[in-house]
Structure formats: C-alpha cells, structure tokens
Symmetry: C2
Subunit: 677 residues, 2 copies
Amino acid sequence: MIYQDLFYPAGVAVFGSVKPGKLAAVIINRLKEGNMPNVYAVNPKAQGMENVPGCDSVLKLKGQVQLAVIAAPAAIVKDILEECGQAGIKAAAIITSGFSEAGNVQGEQELLEIASRYGMRFVGPNCAGVVNTHSNLLATLETRPPKGNIAIISQSGAVGGILMSMAKAQKIGISKFVSFGNGLDLNMMEFLEWMKTDDETKVVAIYMEAVKNGRAFMKVLSELTEIKPVVIVKAGHSSAGQRAALSHTGSMAGVDAVFDAALGQCGAVRAESLEDLFDICRGFSALPEIKGERVLIVTNSGGPGVMTTDKSEEVRLSLPEPSQNMKETLGKFLPSFASIKNPVDLTVEGTGEQYRDALANALEEYDAAVALYIGTPYLKSAPIAEGIIQAGKSTGKPIAVSLSVGTDMNESLDRLEQEGIPAFISGERAVKVFAKMAQYYKCKKLGKTFEASSMPTVGTVLPNNLLEPDVKELLQKNNISVPPYSFVHTAEEAAQSGEELGWPVVIKVVSPQIIHKSDVGGVLLGIDSPNKAREAFKTLEKIAEGRDFRGAIMYHMLDLGREVIIGLTNDASFGPVVVFGLGGIYTEVLKDVVFKVAPVDEKTALTMIKSIKSYKLLEGIRGGKSIDMQFLAKTISELSYFPFKYTNIREMDLNPVFAYEDGVIAVDARIVTDNEA
Amino acid sequence: MIYQDLFYPAGVAVFGSVKPGKLAAVIINRLKEGNMPNVYAVNPKAQGMENVPGCDSVLKLKGQVQLAVIAAPAAIVKDILEECGQAGIKAAAIITSGFSEAGNVQGEQELLEIASRYGMRFVGPNCAGVVNTHSNLLATLETRPPKGNIAIISQSGAVGGILMSMAKAQKIGISKFVSFGNGLDLNMMEFLEWMKTDDETKVVAIYMEAVKNGRAFMKVLSELTEIKPVVIVKAGHSSAGQRAALSHTGSMAGVDAVFDAALGQCGAVRAESLEDLFDICRGFSALPEIKGERVLIVTNSGGPGVMTTDKSEEVRLSLPEPSQNMKETLGKFLPSFASIKNPVDLTVEGTGEQYRDALANALEEYDAAVALYIGTPYLKSAPIAEGIIQAGKSTGKPIAVSLSVGTDMNESLDRLEQEGIPAFISGERAVKVFAKMAQYYKCKKLGKTFEASSMPTVGTVLPNNLLEPDVKELLQKNNISVPPYSFVHTAEEAAQSGEELGWPVVIKVVSPQIIHKSDVGGVLLGIDSPNKAREAFKTLEKIAEGRDFRGAIMYHMLDLGREVIIGLTNDASFGPVVVFGLGGIYTEVLKDVVFKVAPVDEKTALTMIKSIKSYKLLEGIRGGKSIDMQFLAKTISELSYFPFKYTNIREMDLNPVFAYEDGVIAVDARIVTDNEA
C-alpha cells in the first residue's frame, strides 16, 4: 500500500549528488539524523556518505527500498522514476524543482505517465518532502520536529518549512508532515483520506492556498472531521480579488466567504495565522473534549484576568460567575481577600493548593478553565504547576494555562505539557483556542450541514432566456410561492383576468426580445378596471411591435412584505452556492449576506437566516411581528436544490422576495443559464 | 526635581528586611545586578548585604540618598516616610502592599499627608517599582530588561512584570519602566508629562485599565503624541459591561468606543494585545517615519507573501504594483523567473544582492517595505540580512523583515536589529505594525482633533423640563435649523398660523405636565384647513384639561429627508461625547454609530459622518443625490458645543434629523438636564 511505502519505508533511496551542500546530501543527513536505518545514496558515481552506502543503480537495491527520494536535476528525474518503477518501488518524493512551476508542464506530464505505468504514486515535484516522526522518516530539507500527534499538510514548501521550524522551537509534537509541492499526483485529497485511519495523528493542520475540486475536498474533509479535528489556514483570500456574488447587486463579498462557509459546513476549524494554527492544534492535541462554552478563569493578578475576560467575550465564550453554592464552597478554603467571581482572583498570594482546589471544585460548573499565573523572577512556579496538574487529573476537563515570569518557568511549562496541560503565551490565546475547540465539538454534535458531495451528471436542462411566465411556473413546480398571476394573450383576456386576480393589477410585456421590461415602458402599474386592462394590453402590444410578442403577465398588486434576496451563484471551486440577505441597502451597501455551499436543508437555511446582522429586522422590532422564518427557510432550501435538478443554471436570484408574517412570496426571479451571455 | 530623584538617584535606600527571599533583599539584589553604586539597606538591625552597607536610620544617610524604596511591612511605612522626609529625600517607591487595594484607605491617606508635608512624591503603594536602564536603576522585583528607547508605564504590576519578562526574552530595549500600583500620588498623568522631555525615550508603551479624569488625560496625551508616539493597551473593555449611549435607543455601544475615539482624537495608537504593543513599539523604536501607506513586499516564497498580502489589505495598507518603468529597471538585474509584481517574488533562488537591489530601487516608489525570507535549515541567512541592511541604509525608508529557518538565524536577526531593521515573527505582524505607524504619522500631520481640554466652570444653566417651543428656540439660537413653527395660544391663532405655515400642518400640545405627547393623543397630523386647526386646538385643550396647558406648537409637515440621529451623552471618564448615526434600525439594530469626545469642529464632524458603515446611503446610491454633508457636519459640531455653553446638560438628542440635498433640519429634540429624573 502506497501510504505504507511512503510513510513507513524499511529502506530509502536518495537520488542526486551527495557532494557537501547538495540537496541529496542534506536529505541523507536529515534521514540519518532521524535514525532511519536503511538509507542508500544512488548516483552515477555510486558515491556514498558516512554510514550510507552509495550505489549506481536502484535496480541493485530491489526489495530493500520502498521509498525513492529524488533530488537529482530535473532533466534526469524521468529516467530515475523509470528505473524506480523497474525496481518495484511504489512511492517517491520528488524534491527536484523545474517542472510546471517553471513552465515545464510537459516534463511533469511525463512523470505522471511513467508513474501510472508502474503503479507508482509520488509526492511533488518541487516539494519539501515527507516526515513521519513515528517511523524515523525525515525525508525532507526542513527542520526536524519533535514527535507528537499533529499532522501537517502544507500546500507551500516555504510555509511547511516555517511550521517545522516553529514546531521545533515551540516543542510542538508532530506525527506526519508532507508538503506536496506541485501536487501533480498525490495531493491534499489523498493525504486527507489517509489521515482518517492514521492512529498516530489526533489532529490535522493544513496550510492551503487554492482548492481545485471544492466538492470532492468537502466530502473528504467532512468525513475526516467526523473522526478528528482539522484546522486550516487558507491564504490568498484577498489576492484573487473580490468578485460579484449576486451578479446584479454588484460586488457583495468575495469568494473567501464561500470558502469560509464550506469549512464551516464540513466541521473544519479555520485559523487566522500560523501562530493560531499551532495554538489551536496544541489545544486539540493535548486536551479532552470541551463540551460547552462555559469557561472559568483562575488568576493571581487582575490585569491578565481582565484581558482574558475581554477576549473571551470577543470570541463568544461564556464566563458566568460560580453559583452561590460554589462560591460558598470556594470561600471555605480560599483566603478572604480572594475575589470569588469569574475570574477567580487568588491575588499575588495564590498558592498551588489554592489553584488546585479552586479549579478542581469550580470546574464542576464549567466546561473548561484557564489558569493564569504571573510570578516574579525570584519565586518558583513549580508548586503552582503541580496544583494545576492535580486539578486537571481530578476533573478530566480541559485546562489551559498561561504562566509568565519565574526562575523555573521552563521546567514548569515542560511539566504541564507532559501532563497534557497546554501553556499559551497569554490567557487571550488560551480562550481563543477554547472557542475554536468548542466550535468543532458543537458542530460534530449537531451533525454536518453539508451532504451532497458531487454535482449531478443527469438532470433537466433549462431552455435559454426563459420568459417570466415560464420562470413563475418553474418556481411553483419547485414549491416556491409566487404571486397569483395570469398569462394573457388578448386585451379581452387581460380584462377578464384582472377581474379574477382582483384590481388593481400590474401588467408586464412578455417577449424573449425584451429583457429589461421597465426600460421600454413594458411594466404598467395600478391598472384598476377592465377598460384600463384592455388599454394596457394594447399599449404593450404596441411597445413590442416588430418583436416576438408573446402576450402579457398580470399580477394582483401585493402588500409590501419585508424584502429579502435569495440567490444562487457558481463558485469556481465549490460550484453552486446559495446566498441570503435582506434586500436593498442591506445587501448592496452593508454587505450583510450569508453564503452556504448548496444544497442546504431547512435547518441549515434557518441558521443562515439567523446569522445575518440584520436578523432582528426579520424577528420584528418595536413590537413588529416576526416574519415566517420556517417558510423562508423552506424557500431558501428549495432554491438551493435547483442546480441539482436543472444542470445548466449559472446564476439565479429571487429578488425581491416578500416575507410576511404568514408565508413568503418570490415576487421576481431571474435565471441565467450556462449558454447565456 | 522629583523626576531626577526618582529616575536618576545617586544613592538609593532600601527599607525592609534583607533576609534571603524577603522583598528588600530581592530589590537590593536587582539594584546591584543593575550596577547601581550607592545602595543602602535600612532596617532596625542595620543589617547589610554583600557590598551593601546596613543602616538603622536613613537620617544617617542624609545627602547620600535621593530615592527611598520601601518594602517594609505596611504598618511602619508611614514612619519610614516620615523619616525620609526628615532626611530630605524627595522621591520614594512604595512596594509594600496592604493599603487601599486591601481596604486600608486611611493608611494610604496618611502616606499622602506625610509626603505633602515634606514636599515628597512617591510611586505606589502596592507597586512594582521603577527602572531606568540609562542610569543603572533597577528598583523593582521584576526582570531586568535590555537598555533601549521604549518607556513602559503600566497600571498593573503583574502586566508590568510580563512586559519586562517579554522584553528580556525578545531583546526589546527599554528606557524607563514604572508600574505605579495604587497610583495614590504619582500616576499616569505625571509619567506622561515627564515622557515629553525624556530624551532617552523614543516611544511610550502604556498598559492601562481605567481613566480617572479623561479630559486631563487627553490633554497630556495629545501633547505627548505631538512629540513622540504613544502605544496603548487598554483592558477591561468588556468587563465594565455595556451601557446605553443614546439613552432612548437602548444599548448601542459600550464605553470602549468612547475610549477608542478619545485615543484617536489624541493621536495615540491602540494595540490589541501585549504582543501587539511590543511589535508596534519596536517599529517606532527602530524605524524612521513612514510617510504613507504604500508598501512593497519582497519575498523568496509564495505562501508567506500571500499571507502578508492578505493582512495588508485587512489593515488597509496599499500594495500597488511597481510602475512600468520600475518593472523594467528591476527586470534588468532580477532573474527571469522572478515575479516582479507586489510581492516581488525572488523565488527560492533569491540572493542577498537581489534583496538589496530590489528593495533599494523599488522603495523609491513606496513608503516602506517588508522583506520576507524563508530559508532552509542548511542555508545561511547572513547574506540576505546584509543585502537588506544595505538597502535600508541607501534608501532611509522603513524596512521590516521576517526571516524564518536557517542555521545562523539568530545571528542574522541580531545584525538586523543592530542596524535598525526590526524583525517580526511574520510578515503579517510587520504590516500590522506599518499600518499603526502610518496612522500615527498621518494623524500627526493632519493635526489633532481634540482641543478643548477641560469643562467650563461657568456657563448658562438650562431650566429643567424645557418645553418644545423652548427647545426649538434654543436650537435656533445655536445655529441648528429647525422646521418653521409657531407657538399658539388660542384656536384662532392656530387657524391663522396654519395659513402662514402652509397646510397641512402638525399640531402638538404644549404642557410641562405632558411629556409623552403621543401617548395621550396630543399630536394631531394632517390638519389642512383653518377650521380643522381650530378644532384641533380645542381637542388639545381638552386633553390637557386639569393640567398646566400652555398652548400648542404647529409645524408645516416636512418632506421626508434621510433620517439621522445626533446625540450627546456623558461618559464617566471623558464627559460630553457626541454620537452620530443613521436613524432607526441603523442605530438600533446595526449599531452603526460613531463617537467623539466633544466638542468637535466641522472637519472632525465630517470624518465622523464618513466613518459610519452606512455612509454610502448619505452619499446617495442608485443615482440618488448626496445629502448636504457640510451642513450636517456643521450641525454635529454645533450640538457638540452645547455642554460647553450650558453646564447642566446630561443628555441631548436630535432625533430625527432630516438631511436633505440642501440643508439639514432637526425635526425633534430632547434635552435631559442634570436634575431631571
């Protein structure tokens, strides 16, 4: 199995010059540094290195090598790969650059062709290699990280290098590391897939810049987050520029909002920076599940307690005070000058026992705790650390710490880490981590909101340039309410239809050659009698003269409801995306919209409605009544399924939709199919 | 002079037990560690320490000691202070705790009394002491920081301790440090004042939790930022809870927004966390002025470049591409595979010379640059560092770096720091610093927006419960437009007045006993004839029966304008604050309001208008015309001066104000004076 060969090879062949400073020499040194036993240098002169035999052909190593690490010049990589194939090697890491990233696409395709011929799989080219701390595999140019349970998958070699260097400096335990460079063969998808069954990995950290097939990515990501947390840094959210989301309302939000929605729908956690990425991973790596958002802070000084409180509120954790009972319990063993609120402030006199007892008792009422300890350079922090460790053991709940200043600080931090209590630079960082962890576990409990994993290949194809009556019919057929209407073909029909719909009515021209009806005077409002209806029809007929006139569509004029917009757009990575927002300036000026990768069920649609800033307007303010949320959610959900029933929808908007106390009506709609301009 | 005695004493007396582990002993060790020559231990037994003579009374040291550091038990501090007074000592740092922070207010007042009797000034009690790296003064329990040009003033001893420990660990050069504990005597104000003339300090870092006299604080802060940058972390922005800003529209924003506005008006820079605080201070400390917001990124790898680009956009820096000419210039010496955009990506092959040449040339078109270099563990970064240093020297513009990974990384970072090029953990951090620096220098160039420093002691006192016609008159007198109105006292006057105002009119009851006019039916709309006016007047008379009926106020019904709110509120720290926002849901639901400490001139009022999110609505969307910004700014400014003319205004709102294409009218107003409920 490729995964086995790639991450647990019994022998590794390194291709390329082993002269000092050359890549192959560096990699061999790394492999030896990592204590890999069977390493071979393969190069034309059969030059070896200290303890590493040289060999002029990998064919001579048949059976002894499972992984080829290629750092030879680009021109000869294909020959090496061919020979590896002949030698029965199934896995390779191609470090060598000079392929598609430098315009050499053909050279890259040749590699793919050779590999597929031999059933080989490879990482790269132009990659930073692979690491498995659990099998002594350090087939990379990068720093050797400590052993642990965090896997790193990086789309950028440089960022991978930074992460490995940070891991070493901050003593962050890594299980696997892979940076797949051009990702020509093995890439994000395969590694995510493998992470599902990798028992040495408890949490997966990802740095990525682009998503090729968003839906396939979402599928495997969703499956993986069911099993273990995945934390992602996505760069490039500004560089690609912003683009229109609901086409005709202008640039409302960038594609980054779609990526963000996709991650949320998959239950993955997004980190803002590499520092955040490691902070969050360390939380998941060390701590048990956090079951809610109630957090206790125990501190020995005010300032850091206050800053942690501020940040907790910002990240929406809850910091309730201990119950009256608990306050009494704590009061029994805490000194009178301690402040028993939240934070619990033990003051500068706080002892290890007090930290232990305050945490161990109060945690009964909380989901997690942050212990802050600010010492002075002449006092030992070890007793505090021990107190916290004991509390952690007795409660089994997540505790994070931030300790500052002290002669023995490093020893204390090491002790805490050993006992599964992560230390962060500040209390603020700790609560930020708790918030992300709580988000992951909450999402896992509620179940994923993303289901449909791929686009349908069969479905109905809609005709181009659908006429207004066609669109209305289509909506009705798909359980989206439209205003009562009639499609009339004569002045007499118009007069009669008005009687049925109830005066006053609106009457609009229907012609495939008239798209912007208002611009040509093709929309007549306030028609309130049979005679006016007849006249109106004739006016429209005249307007359409010389064009393909199909008749007129008539509506009873509706009471104004709360105006909302529901749209569908097509994301380059993720395909159909459903967008919701309040109409007019809320969408246009305030950009108060929410995205989800389509389709969404009614439950998810309801969370969309609730997540916009202007939600209160829908709930009703100043004694106004709430609009029909359930009906609105149903309408959003119904629309989100359109691209899965009709395969050629590029964009679609319901705008405006009138939301009432009872019911929701799509007043106007617009569909653009794939072939339309 | 106290400042001299406090920060540059020739001799220091330390009071308290010198037994190992006792505070006085720790402080004496710190002082000796800092190489302070004349240190004396003063305690009843005249116990000294190694190289530090003991003495049983400070009177014996008369003339040899300028600073007393007191770490003796609280009960005897007053006696020590008395003796210091007798010995002619003018400055003291009282480390001892157990005063007001523990409820001992009286003990604290005694200290103040003694000090004032002898013309002494002191820091503390309950403080972490003072440090001056430029005079070998380390009169503190905290870590010894490196010498430099950043002064730290901390309202929290614990946070001071964290900062000192961070300074040591991150090699951040400190000039002065003071943590003033209870701040009974010397506190924020005095230290800010002193910082103005402290030539050893280039930038002032502040940690604070509360502001006592906001206006005095603003005055000295404004003066200080004229001279040097001040960077502030303010904690406690959530804990105090949120409170109503415009009273009747509910809780729109917390006092933190006022603090934020105050800092902005004073030209100070706010940092989000202690890490940010030091990052920003290091920028100011090391770099020359940044003259604009155009930033160049030079990198050797994509990922970190992209993340830095993302962050730049977030912090609103501008990242234009080099001009065509510049691209050609750069193209001459950069390799063909380098990407000459912004970021300039030299790729993994980037050399020190290329960094130097790219930076030195392109910086002509930019205000600052970030150089990113991500190496590998086996490559030296020294040549890159040298290239960047040379570019810095030749351009004289600010350059920051982020270097990662490399055998000689620490040496390179030290070299860069020596040459005034600060290194940050990431490019994101570097651009965040640039953004804050640019904000400071921009604000300094534009001039402060805060002028009036203190509240007037004389001024007109408004009567309580002003009637609507009184309020309208008051507004008119102060150049705020109101709708044409008349105050009528008979039915006949009402009929006649309607003719003059023009039908239709609104007519409202006027009575000091009817506050909520609408609730009792005291507002009649759409009156469109003399007869109806007479009837209306009689109706109002009837409604007011048994109450103090003063007549009726009449308005011609106005066309609707764009609805805005302008308010005045009283902040506990900063006094009168002016608030602006769009009416209705923009203020209530979307909390889209802006605060400034009053008064504001028209220029500042204009920046307020432009800073709300819904500004575009005022500018006009979909072809609508802009409202009269200048008139609106004038109205905001006029209102902001009310508390400086009328001394008993507690709250005042103009709500709604109708803003038109030409002009702005305050339709309704409400004033609450200090004595009203």
